[in-house]
């Protein structure tokens, strides 16, 4: 089952989430690759969907960086389908400090970011349990 966030049902305030995030206009793809590698190792993935440098700079990609003590420690790669719908395609972080809970907090921050820009939905991929704690989560039904 797939899930999305209906942004009309969210009300996150980016300034109150305690996360230092920004859109990366000119991402350092080597740095992002290192974070993705660290993420895959931490998660002990036996098979990893590759990410290519071109995907970070593709015209419909948005890349967001998340910082801890001014160091880039995580990122999200989003793909804009159109001006209403976006997919949170890949998230990765170093897990250097798990208590930051960057996986879920970054999603809340993305809700605030895209809702402010009048998007309607963020597509999340599989409906995994941890996503259910987000406001506005909906399981996608039949077409």
């Amino acid at each position: 089952m797939y899930a999305r966030i209906n942004l009309a049902h969210t009300d996150y305030n980016a300034d109150k989430l305690g996360i230092n995030a920004k859109k990366l206009r000119d991402p350092d793809t080597d740095e992002l690759d290192k974070i993705y590698r660290a993420y895959a190792e931490y998660k002990n993935f036996s098979s990893v969907m590759p990410l290519f440098k071109e995907e970070y700079t593709y015209q419909q990609s948005d890349v967001f960086g998340y910082y801890d003590e001014n160091k880039l420690v995580a990122f999200t790669l989003c793909f804009r389908y159109n001006d209403r719908n976006i997919a949170a395609n890949q998230f990765a972080w170093t897990y250097h400090k798990p208590e930051l809970r960057l996986g879920i907090t970054s999603l809340k921050w993305l809700c605030a970011y895209y809702k402010f820009r009048c998007y309607d939905y963020i597509y999340l991929g599989d409906d995994t349990a941890y996503k259910q704690q987000l406001a506005g989560v909906e399981v996608l039904g039949k077409l």
Binding site: K53, N85, L143
Partner: protein, 143 residues
């Protein structure tokens, strides 16, 4: 744990025998109707949406497959870079299941993109039926 796969085109040697063409001016309404038929036939309880903008995105090739001169199936191929392409979505109206277009279209795409100099077609999840394609490889943990 999820496993991902690609086709190593150096290990495949298919010929494009299907009646196909890469669509210059895709009719998104027609393609979306085929997608709807596909999801209905497959009884997907949760369907990932496809947006019309994806059909005209210059990063995507849309390959149409014909039977008796009628468009009956399509594939959306995301050209990541000059070496790697990803099979993002396939849809078919299953009007004539014995055509086996699901698997035959993949062989055809191997031939098309190998001829264009591509090295890999990323398939996403390593579903069992994909293993019959020459060059099929599970993507490992190293990125």
């Amino acid at each position: 744990m999820t496993q991902y796969a690609w086709i190593n085109l150096a290990k495949s040697n298919y010929t494009a025998t299907l009646d196909y063409k890469i669509l210059d001016d895709p009719d998104s309404k027609q393609l979306l109707e085929i997608y709807k038929q596909y999801c209905t036939y497959k009884k997907f309880k949760s369907a990932w949406p496809i947006y019309a903008e994806e059909f005209t995105n210059p990063a995507n090739d849309i390959i149409g497959y014909y039977d008796n001169n009628e468009l009956v199936a399509w594939s959306m191929m995301y050209k990541i870079n000059a070496r790697v392409i990803e099979a993002l979505q396939f849809a078919w109206n299953y009007h004539n299941p014995k055509l086996k277009l699901g698997i035959e279209s993949m062989k055809c795409e191997c031939a098309i993109y190998k001829a264009q100099g591509y090295e890999y077609i990323i398939l996403g999840e390593a579903h069992e039926y994909k293993k019959q394609i020459d060059g099929f490889e599970i993507i490992g943990p190293a990125i």
